[in-house]
């Protein structure tokens, strides 16, 4: 993590995930009502960066295709090394040759979420192979204050996000008590769910930068007073208790060194235009 060392690029292959369910179709929501989870992994159509996390009735739905790998260790590596903004290219199937970009990651067994142009996404099929040009872990821009850690972000994308010396623009800053699933897990590969539902008075959009107070995400994610972590919203809401819209962390540091500026109405975070997917 030394400033000035060159980031290394590693091409890794992922496979477009097929959704998986258990013997029962039901999960149980926070009110005890069973529901059938839709949109939790695989290819999700009809959802874009910029849409509200509450726009669709789904469970952890992400705007694009999730990549996995059949070998557990390779799947973890794909997830750890992939960074938001990394270029991806479809290698097999009807969409072969199409280009996309990493828009986030999810934890547990590990998933990389890749965004595509709508026409390419509809031609994708679970099992298609996608190569990711992974780059970013270990990268550290020279302007970053010494106590601030950056992770999970492509260097070229960081340069065009509303992030720089003395300012990080975010949609909202939320309190630590809203941190949910993902606490205690490594920020390099897991997302952090925010315990926000559609009735809680705060709206978030897929791709937003969001800050969360008193969370240290340098290694595992956990409570540390007077810290702040910033992540990108990579998937939508969930009816499950303890779950909700998820952020992939990109910055974490002491509040004195990482200044966030909430802009609930005018914020623009990660967009298809920044990823050159328009």
């Amino acid at each position: 993590m030394t400033a000035g060392l060159a980031a290394v690029t590693v091409n890794l292959l992922g496979t477009v995930e097929h959704p998986e369910l258990g013997d029962s179709p039901y999960r149980v929501d926070a009110d005890g009502v069973p529901y059938v989870p839709v949109g939790d992994g695989g290819i999700v159509l009809g959802l874009d960066l910029g849409d509200s996390v509450f726009a669709v009735h789904a469970d952890h739905a992400a705007p694009g295709a999730c990549l996995v790998h059949q070998a557990e260790a390779a799947r973890h590596a794909l997830t750890l090394y992939s960074c938001i903004g990394n270029a991806a290219q479809v290698r097999t199937g009807a969409a072969a040759g199409a280009s996309g970009a990493v828009i986030g990651k999810r934890g547990e067994n590990g998933r990389v979420i890749v965004g595509f142009r709508a026409g390419d996404l509809t031609r994708l099929r679970p099992g298609d192979q996608v190569s990711v040009r992974t780059r970013g872990q270990g990268f550290r821009p020279g302007w970053l204050p010494p106590a601030v850690t950056v992770m999970n972000i492509d260097p070229d994308l960081l340069a065009v996000l509303p992030v720089g010396p003395g300012h990080v623009a975010v949609r909202l800053e939320l309190p630590a008590r809203l941190a949910g699933s993902g606490l205690g897990r490594p920020a390099a590969s897991w997302d952090l769910d925010l315990q926000l539902g559609p009735g809680d008075g705060a709206d978030l959009r897929l791709g937003d930068l969001v800050a969360i107070s008193d969370i240290d995400a340098r290694y595992n994610m956990g409570y540390r007073r007077d810290w702040v972590s910033v992540g990108i919203v990579v998937h939508g809401a969930s009816p499950l208790p303890g779950h909700g819209p998820g952020i992939t962390p990109i910055l974490t540091g002491p509040r004195g060194e990482l200044t966030v500026r909430p802009d609930p109405d005018g914020h623009a975070g990660l967009t298809a235009a920044l990823l050159k997917l328009q």
Partner: protein, 311 residues
């Protein structure tokens, strides 16, 4: 007045398991709050010297599991063991030199955790067979419809002080109150499996990590503010969850001493009484001989609470 329950209509199921080993990978190290790598014992096997009533923190340990850590070798049978075992259920040793000795479930942590008297624990090891008489899931409080009961043997409800108050609320005695900010790993999981780690109890580390939870004891009954564990574990303002501290010291960041869920419902349905004696040791695992080696332990070393409905 003791809270009325449907205990008379519950069944018991006989489950088996074995003391399960500690698990590690070839890289060994895990990472603490400040990035410190560590190799520390605590999970799996039989952890000696820590019992209900003892401090939960202050050990060179990670995810300290007091007593025996139990699983079933078959994956589906293991889930039955994990989901159906309830705090207070009797655990009997069926093989090895401690065969015949009896302890009790104190919680779940992806292992079922069973506390035994120290001389029994000292003679247990990985692979020893146990039988758990599981009863408690499905337990209801007849006069407290808003409160959901989880992982709780009828004998434990019977033994806990408090009960139905004249104003209709459920009185529960708690040894500690936990703020919502302390809830760590385990949030978002189902309430019948593992437990909720509490952050802010890293004894000896920075003040910026502390939420004042360094004095928790194993077996403490605690109240978790703004937590709804009725159908999983999540944040919900105005709700309250009662748990029992079943695991102790952690160094892994975002983790810590963990309560297994017992009761959950709207905060207004509860009346909390702060009571330092609100600990499983007061009802199950107290008395001379439990904490120390030496003569005096019996193979049927049951305390008063064991004579309730869980037998």
């Amino acid at each position: 007045m003791k809270a009325a329950t449907n205990a008379a209509r519950l069944v018991s199921q006989v489950l088996t398991g074995e003391v399960w080993p500690a698990l590690a990978d070839r890289h060994g190290y895990r990472v603490g709050p400040d990035g410190q790598p560590f190799v520390l014992p605590g999970m799996g096997g039989v952890t000696l010297g820590v019992h209900c009533g003892d401090p939960a923190t202050g050990y060179a340990a990670d995810h300290l599991e007091p007593g025996a850590s139990i699983r079933h070798a078959d994956p589906a049978a293991n889930m039955a063991v994990q989901f159906l075992s309830c705090v207070g259920n009797q655990v009997r040793v069926d093989s090895g030199p401690a065969a015949g000795a009896v302890g009790h479930v104190i919680g779940q942590h992806a292992y079922v955790l069973a506390d035994f008297a120290e001389p029994v624990a000292a003679s247990l090891t990985t692979g020893d067979a146990v039988t758990i008489t599981a009863t408690g899931q499905g337990l209801r409080l007849s006069d407290h419809h808003q409160i959901v009961v989880k992982n709780c043997s009828p004998g434990l409800i019977e033994a806990m002080p408090g009960g139905t108050r004249p104003d209709g609320r459920l009185e529960v005695h708690v040894a500690a109150r936990v703020p919502a900010e302390a809830i760590g790993a385990g949030v978002g999981m189902i309430s019948e499996y593992a437990n909720t780690d509490l952050m802010g109890a890293y004894e000896g580390l920075g003040d910026d990590l502390s939420l004042g939870l360094e004095s928790l004891r194993v077996g403490d009954i605690v109240a978790l503010a703004d937590q709804d564990h009725r159908y999983g574990r999540g944040y919900r303002p105005g709700y309250l969850t009662i748990g029992v501290i079943s695991t102790g010291q952690c160094l892994l960041f975002g983790h810590g001493p963990g309560p297994s869920t017992l009761l959950s419902g709207p905060a207004g349905a509860f009346h909390l009484v702060d009571d330092a004696d609100a600990n499983l040791a007061s009802w199950y695992h107290g008395g001379a001989g439990w904490h120390h080696h030496g003569a005096g332990w019996s193979r049927q070393d049951n305390s008063a609470a064991d004579h309730g409905a869980d037998r």
